[in-house]
C-alpha cells in the first residue's frame, strides 16, 4: 500500500527545536536567576518610606524580592527603599516560610508589613491569603496555616471547636472603622450627613425608605434631602467590616438585635449585596441614592471618591471618622477590660465598651480591632511547624506589634495604644516551641 504521509519537513523540526529552547531558557531564568543587589533610585512618598525609616536596612534591596512580597492590590505599597546608611546589623534568622490567612480588611496593611519585615529579615517569607475572617478562623482551627487573622474574635462555639488541649492566642494587631458611605446627587461632597445608630438601623431594616424621611431630616436641618427611595447596599460575602457594623446596629436598636443580630454574615432585611469592599464602593458609586457601610481605609486611600457621613457617639457628638478619632476610640475602648492573650475574647468589643461612654466626645463609635490568631504551644506535631518557622512567626508578629504600627498611617489604619502593645508583648512572650519559650526574655 502506498503511504500518503509526507516526511516532516526540516523547517518544522527547526521551528520546534527553537521553541523548545526558548521555553527551556525562560524556565531556567525564572527558576534559577537570583538577582544581585541593585540600587533603586526611584523614591515614592508612600507607606514604604515610613516603614524603611523605622527599620535598619542596607542601602539597596533587589527589586525582585520586593515585588514578590508586595503582591497586593493596594497602590500605596511601593518599592522605594530609604537610602539611609545602615545603623545596625541584626543577625538574620534561619530561612522559613510562614503562611497566614484571614480577613480582607487588613490586607493592604498586611502587605506593607510583610514588605517591611522582609527588609529586616530577608530569609523569612511570609504569605498571606485574604480569604475572609471566617475562613481564617477555620484554617487556623484546622491547622493548615501558621497564623490566622480575623476582624471578629472567636465565638464560644469556635473556641470549643479548637483541637483538644490547645490554646489559641488572640493578638490585636490593628484597628479600623466603618463609615456610612452614600451617593446622593443633590448633596455636595463638603456636606456630611449626620446619622445615629437608630437611624442607620432603621434604614438597614427597611423601615426608613426615603431620604427625606423625618428621622433623617431632623438630624440634618441644613441639607435639602431628596425624596428618592434609599437603596441599601451591603456586602454579599462575609466580612469583618459587616461584623463591626452589625454589632453597632445591634447595640443601637433593639429590633435589629433580635431580628438580625450581628455576625460576619447576616440575613440582611433589605438591600443589594456586592462582593468585597471594592464591590460595595463600586455599587454605591454606580447607584444613585444608595448607602452602604464601607471601611475607613478605603476612604482614605481613595479620597473624594465617595461621600460618607458622620455618626453620633454616646456623648451626642456627630463624629466624622478619621484616624484621630478612631485612635481615640481604640484607646478608650481598650483602656480596660482586655482579656489576657490566652483567654477567650468572645465577649470583648470596643464598640460595646465605648457605646455607653458619654465622656469622650471625639471617639468614633464604629471602631473594631483586628486580631492575629496563633497557637500558644507550637511544635512539629502541629502542622509540621519547624523551629525556624515558629521563630520566624513570633518575630514577625513581634515586629508587627512593636515596629510596624506606623506603616498604616498613610493607608488609613490607626496604631495600637501602648497598653495593647504591652499586652501583646506579654502574649507573644508566652509562645513556646516544644515547651521552650521562643523569645528568650
Amino acid at each position: 500500500m502506498q503511504t500518503s504521509r509526507k516526511a516532516v519537513s526540516g523547517t518544522t523540526i527547526a521551528l520546534v527545536v527553537v521553541i523548545v529552547i526558548v521555553i527551556a531558557g525562560f524556565g531556567a531564568y525564572v527558576a534559577f536567576y537570583t538577582p544581585g543587589p541593585t540600587t533603586v533610585t526611584s523614591v515614592s512618598t508612600s507607606v514604604s518610606t515610613s516603614v524603611a525609616t523605622s527599620v535598619a536596612t542596607s542601602v539597596s534591596t533587589s527589586v525582585a524580592t520586593s515585588v514578590s512580597t508586595a503582591t497586593s492590590v493596594s497602590t500605596s505599597v511601593s518599592t522605594s527603599v530609604s537610602t539611609s546608611v545602615t545603623t545596625a546589623t541584626s543577625t538574620y534568622l534561619a530561612a522559613a516560610t510562614i503562611n497566614g490567612a484571614g480577613g480582607t480588611l487588613v490586607f493592604p496593611l498586611m502587605s506593607s508589613w510583610i514588605f517591611g519585615f522582609t527588609q529586616v529579615q530577608p530569609n523569612i517569607e511570609v504569605n498571606y491569603s485574604p480569604v475572609g475572617s471566617g475562613a481564617g478562623i477555620a484554617q487556623i482551627t484546622a491547622g493548615t496555616v501558621n497564623f490566622g487573622e480575623s476582624d471578629a474574635p472567636l465565638k464560644t462555639s469556635q473556641y470549643a471547636a479548637l483541637p483538644n488541649g490547645s490554646t489559641l492566642l488572640t493578638i490585636p494587631v490593628s484597628a479600623s472603622g466603618v463609615v456610612p458611605a452614600y451617593n446622593i446627587p443633590g448633596i455636595s461632597s463638603t456636606t456630611h450627613l449626620n446619622f445615629t445608630g437608630n437611624v442607620l438601623a432603621g434604614i438597614f431594616l427597611g423601615d426608613i425608605t426615603a431620604w427625606n424621611a423625618p428621622a433623617i431630616a431632623a438630624l440634618n436641618p441644613g441639607a435639602t434631602l431628596p425624596s428618592n427611595p434609599i437603596v441599601v447596599v451591603h456586602r454579599s460575602d462575609g466580612s469583618g467590616t459587616m461584623y463591626a457594623f452589625t454589632q453597632y446596629l445591634s447595640d443601637s436598636n433593639a429590633t435589629w438585635r433580635t431580628k438580625v443580630g450581628f455576625s460576619t454574615s447576616v440575613d440582611w432585611p433589605t438591600g443589594i449585596g456586592c462582593k468585597g469592599n471594592a464591590g460595595v464602593a463600586g455599587c454605591i458609586a454606580n447607584t444613585q441614592y444608595s448607602i452602604g457601610p464601607l471601611e475607613i481605609a478605603y476612604q482614605i486611600q481613595n479620597p473624594g471618591a465617595i461621600n460618607y457621613g458622620a455618626v453620633q457617639n454616646h456623648a451626642g457628638h456627630f463624629v466624622l471618622a478619621n484616624l484621630t478619632n478612631i485612635n481615640l476610640a481604640v484607646q478608650a475602648g481598650a483602656s480596660s477590660g482586655l482579656p489576657a492573650g490566652n483567654a477567650q475574647w468572645s465577649s470583648f468589643s470596643i464598640i460595646n465598651n465605648i457605646f455607653n461612654d458619654s465622656m469622650d466626645t471625639q471617639v468614633y463609635p464604629v471602631t473594631t480591632f483586628t486580631y492575629a490568631l496563633v497557637y500558644q504551644s507550637l511544635s512539629a506535631s502541629y502542622a509540621g511547624t519547624s523551629n525556624a518557622q515558629a521563630v520566624g512567626l513570633v518575630n514577625f508578629l513581634w515586629w508587627v506589634v512593636n515596629s510596624g504600627q506606623n506603616a498604616g498611617k498613610n493607608i488609613g489604619y490607626p496604631s495600637l495604644p501602648a497598653n495593647v502593645v504591652t499586652l501583646d508583648d506579654t502574649t507573644l512572650n508566652s509562645i513556646t516551641y516544644n515547651g521552650t519559650p521562643i523569645l528568650g526574655s
Binding site: G238, V260, S265, V266, I272, G282, T287
Partner: protein, 326 residues
C-alpha cells in the same frame, strides 16, 4: 470454491479466524472501557461526597430545606427556596432570550450564507469567540457597563410605563434578575448556535429540495421542513445551553444583587444557588453553615442531573414518534 479462493488470494472465506489472545484490540478496549467506567465512578463519587458533606444539614432540616425561605446564619436557620427560584428564573430568562438569537444565528449561517464560505466562517468564529470570554469578564462588564445602560434605557422606562405589570413592579437599580438573565443569554448564545449549526448542516438536502419542489418560499422551507427535522438536535442544544446557565457563578453574582428573594418582579435583586456558595463559603464559620452550603451544592448537582435526564427522556420520546425519521 474454498480451494479456489485459497489459491488466488491466500485467504479463505471458510476458515475461522481466531482472535489474538492479547493484541492491540484488547488493550484499546480495556483502556477505553476503563475511561468510561472512570467517568461514571467520578459522578457517583461526586454525589456521595456531596451527600456526606451535606449530611448534617440534611438531618437538621430535612425536606424543609427545599421549601424554606429564610437564610439566617446568625440564628442558624437555612432554607434554599429563594436560591432555587433564582437559578430557575435566570436560566429560563436566559433561554427565552438566548435560544431565539442562537438559533437565528445558526439558521442565518446555514441557510443564508451557504454560498459564501469565508463570510460564514468568519461570522461563525466570531460568535464562538463569545464562548471564549471568561465568565468573570462577563461579570465585570455587566457590573460596570451593561447594568447602568440597562437600568437607564430599558428598566426605568419599562417601570415607569408598565409598572402595574407584576413583572416590572420593583424600582429598578440595575442589579437584578433581568440583567443576570441578559448576561446569561449572551453566554449561552455561542453554545446554542454552534450546536444548532451542526444539526442544521446535517439535515439532508433532500428535505429542502422536496419543499422547494412543492413551491415553498425559503422561510417556509426552513420553518416546515428543516427545523422540524432538526427538532431533537436543537432541543439538545437548548439543554446544553441551559446546563451552562444553571451552573454559571461569577458572571451572575456580580449583577444579580445577591439578596435571597422570591418575587415576580424581574427588576428585583435575587440570588442563585451557585452565587451563594461562591459568596459565603469562605466565611462559613461553623459546621452547620458549611453543611447547609454543601447541601446547596447537592441541590445544584441534582438540578443539573434532573434537567439532563428530563431532556434525554424528551428527546427519546420525540425521536420515537416523529414523522421525520430517516
Amino acid at each position: 470454491m474454498a480451494e479456489r479462493f485459497k489459491l488466488e488470494t491466500g485467504l479463505t472465506t471458510a476458515r475461522k479466524v481466531r482472535p489474538r489472545r492479547f493484541g492491540g484490540d484488547q488493550i484499546l478496549k480495556g483502556l477505553v472501557g476503563a475511561a468510561a467506567i472512570f467517568v461514571v465512578l467520578l459522578l457517583i463519587a461526586l454525589g456521595v461526597e456531596l451527600t456526606e458533606g451535606a449530611s448534617l444539614s440534611l438531618t437538621t432540616f430535612g425536606p424543609g430545606f427545599l421549601i424554606g425561605t429564610t437564610w439566617d446564619p446568625v440564628h442558624e436557620i437555612f432554607g434554599a427556596l429563594p436560591y432555587i427560584y433564582g437559578t430557575l428564573l435566570t436560566s429560563a430568562l436566559a433561554l427565552l432570550i438566548g435560544l431565539p438569537i442562537g438559533l437565528g444565528v445558526a439558521i442565518f449561517l446555514t441557510e443564508k450564507v451557504r454560498g459564501s464560505k469565508l463570510f460564514g466562517y468568519a461570522l461563525g468564529t466570531l460568535v464562538e469567540l463569545l464562548a471564549a470570554v471568561p465568565s468573570v469578564i462577563y461579570g465585570l462588564w455587566g457590573l460596570f457597563f451593561l447594568s447602568p445602560v440597562l437600568k437607564t434605557y430599558v428598566e426605568t422606562p419599562l417601570h415607569a410605563y408598565l409598572g402595574f405589570v407584576p413583572l416590572f413592579a420593583s424600582v429598578p437599580f440595575g442589579l437584578d434578575f433581568f440583567t443576570a438573565g441578559i448576561i446569561l443569554a449572551i453566554m449561552i448564545i455561542p453554545t446554542v448556535s454552534a450546536v444548532s449549526r451542526d444539526i442544521l448542516n446535517a439535515v439532508p438536502n433532500s428535505q429542502r429540495e422536496a419543499m422547494y419542489s412543492l413551491g415553498a418560499t425559503h422561510w417556509e422551507v426552513i420553518r416546515r421542513s428543516v427545523l422540524p427535522y432538526a427538532r431533537s438536535g436543537i432541543f439538545g442544544a437548548t439543554i446544553l445551553g441551559l446546563g451552562r446557565a444553571v451552573g454559571e457563578t461569577m458572571a451572575v453574582t456580580f449583577v444579580i444583587g445577591n439578596t435571597p428573594r422570591i418575587t415576580a418582579s424581574l427588576f428585583s435583586g435575587g440570588y442563585t444557588l451557585s452565587a451563594v456558595i461562591a459568596n459565603e463559603f469562605a466565611e462559613a464559620s461553623y459546621p452547620l453553615y458549611v453543611s447547609a452550603l454543601i447541601e446547596i451544592g447537592l441541590i445544584l448537582f441534582g438540578l443539573a442531573l434532573i434537567i439532563n435526564l428530563f431532556a434525554r427522556l424528551l428527546i427519546w420520546r420525540m425521536t420515537r414518534t416523529t414523522r421525520f425519521r430517516v
